[in-house]
Symmetry: C2
Subunit: 110 residues, 2 copies
DNA sequence: TTGACAAATCAAATTTTTTTGATTTGATAG
DNA sequence: CTATCAAATCAAAAAAATTTGATTTGTCAA
């Protein structure tokens, strides 16, 4: 398994960052049930509309959700392939042997 | 699949938060190779020791890494079961049908 | 058109996270 | 003991993320 490039690692951390907020996780949990419009999310989560918009933008930029306009409403839903992508990043660790080889750390030259 | 409790969701977001930083992802990538002491991580990542200590603490609190003291050195390694745990959280989304049922959002009473 | 309403954007205030340099703690070797 | 060195802790500064309320944008219906 090759070591990922630094730029890839930054991308990975950015995606995890989108999941690093309780409200955003709650949004995702609600969308797991069904597609919802912003006003429904507002009602259920009891947060202001602009606050929700801010968090939806972060989730959208991380490609974890998608917005579909219909009339005056925008319906948000999960972008499942992106979840699979993150799952795969984590799954690589499962392949490692449970005990990593120790490495003796002694005083180095100069 | 039951809806997780709010407290669980906060815990989930906390764990993802630990992965939400490029340096911490880099630390994890290095530890994927082998157990390393703090001074080695400092050298390889070219960051100050106190900075590394700060980030290692976050990873340790999220149970993503473990520290093992040996003499003056503390060797850090990955705590693989925790990675599996997060992987499983994400894997639940794979079971969802790709297209979630739309829900019509119309004007609600009053 | 105009009015109503859903959602996005924006700037300012607030909160949280991260960085930095200095200090402390704890273990070892002499 | 005492020197030394690895690592943690701490307080202050800096940077980044989040919240808030007001405003704007876009769509639809009358």
């Amino acid at each position: 398994m090759a070591i990922p490039k630094t730029t890839d690692l930054i991308a990975v951390s950015k995606h995890f960052q989108a999941l690093a907020d309780p409200l955003r996780i709650q949004i995702i949990e609600l969308l797991r049930e069904q597609e919802l419009c912003v006003c429904d999310l507002c009602d259920r989560l009891e947060v202001r509309q602009s606050k929700l918009s801010f968090h939806l933008k972060i989730l959208k930029e991380a490609e974890l959700v998608r917005g579909r306009q219909q009339g005056r409403w925008i319906y948000y839903s999960l972008n499942l392939p992106q979840f699979v992508h993150l799952e795969q990043y984590l799954s690589e660790f499962r392949r490692l042997s449970p005990i990593l080889p120790a490495r003796i750390c002694s005083d180095r030259p100069e």
